[in-house]
Subunit: 221 residues, 2 copies
DNA sequence: CAGCACTTTACGGTTTCCCATAAAAAAAGG
DNA sequence: CCTTTTTTTATGGGAAACCGTAAAGTGCTG
């Protein structure tokens, strides 16, 4: 049963609508944080006072506004919270739609649910909370589709290193030297070329610009 | 005095919070549209019934979801609405933060106010509505700052056409033919090269890959 | 219409990228 | 330890991109 919820969300309006959605689920014991640091603080205090939260609903991106913050965003917050209260359920509520990021939330951050800020988000929020209350993870169908789509090609660290360097403006011919300096092997120019060709071939691309655009869309770089 | 308001917003949660904000301003005669076409329709009907709206609060971007729509977004909606009811006040409520776009809304679309979905957006929404009720335009300070910031390069349609083609994998040398086929001029290869060089120079870039990555980050392509 | 300023296009040389092939190195297997 | 296989690196020719300059085109003005 979920009775005590913390909302971490910098947008006042989004915060309001989550609050209202919770009201409709008859969850009245709610707290609000407009900064990640404050959210972590509230969770820590609640644990100390032995009245810990059951659920954290958090955004991913918090806009800086002059007040110095230690935690830079939702991902940081999740990592920090896990250390304080490992059993806290976490539901991410964000406009994020890049498959790689959402996938990462499930696999690496082990969150309990993800609801994208989109057309029927309020309804989905209710469904998600109900699912999580029954100790199930919430995995909307269209999110699953997004993640599955991503599997057209899985980039290795080596791939992403090369593509990132290209996206930063490094000349292809200068990449081998950079790889050597960082102890990455293989480092030969031919190896770089070969790798890029294999990726582009697998994705049906012809030019590096296309590959960079694709990785940006995926949020891989 | 503003008494009758239409909210055009596809996100259910955002719609809810706007509604709640209006309630707090004791504006109870509100209607909701989750699609631009529906919004235009409601406005047209209201004009016909001689009970027209005083204010339209609209988002800029509406996500397609299968239902075919004529109007593709907030800008289209504003243009269409002006023809039906020129005196309707228009307040844009969007996460848009690109100075060029916001500037365009004021100068070309002649909107009455803009509130960015951000930290204190609900409070700003109230302020904006109060200002507009007194026939003033609402121009928050930080928005002005954004527009004044000139450290952002503003891409022309021509620029974006070229960059988009590159991002789609077209060879630079094949772009002139494509431009000619689409009646875009200039179309010479040298003009394309010159333009790309000017952009890259202005942004301190050296390679096309870098430029594509930057445009993807900006959401310009 | 001539003159001028400016834009667009055309062209040639250089660099970088692309691609195929071969040599060298490393890994695998007996 | 030697052979086989695979991976990595080196090399060279050709295509594309890059860069400067000259020519052609366009628009404005007197």
């Amino acid at each position: 049963m979920i009775t005590k919820v913390l909302i971490a969300e910098d947008h006042e309006s989004a915060n309001i609508s989550v609050q209202k959605t919770l009201e409709e689920l008859v969850i009245i014991n709610t707290a609000y944080a407009y900064y990640c640091d404050d959210a972590l603080n509230k969770i820590t205090q609640a644990v100390k006072a032995e009245s810990s939260f059951d659920l954290l609903i958090t955004d991913l991106y918090f806009e800086p506004d002059g007040y110095k913050q230690i935690l830079s965003g939702g991902m940081d917050l999740i990592t920090a919270v896990r250390k304080v209260q490992p059993d806290l359920k976490i539901l991410v509520f964000s406009a994020e739609n890049r498959p790689a990021t959402i996938d990462q939330l499930y696999s690496n951050y082990d969150i309990d649910g993800f609801v994208r800020k989109a057309r029927h988000d309020a309804r989905e929020l209710k469904e998600a909370i109900n699912e999580i209350a029954q100790h199930r993870r919430y995995f909307p169908r269209h999110i699953k589709q997004l993640i599955d789509k991503k599997n057209v090609y899985s980039f290795s660290d080596f791939d992403l290193t090369i593509i990132t360097l290209l996206a930063q403006g490094m000349l292809q011919k200068d990449i081998p030297a950079h790889l050597q300096n960082h102890g990455i092997k293989p480092s030969g120019l031919s190896s770089v070329e070969k790798r890029l060709n294999q990726i582009k071939d697998a994705l049906g691309f012809t030019k590096n610009e296309q590959l960079v655009a694709h990785c940006k869309d995926l949020g891989a770089i």
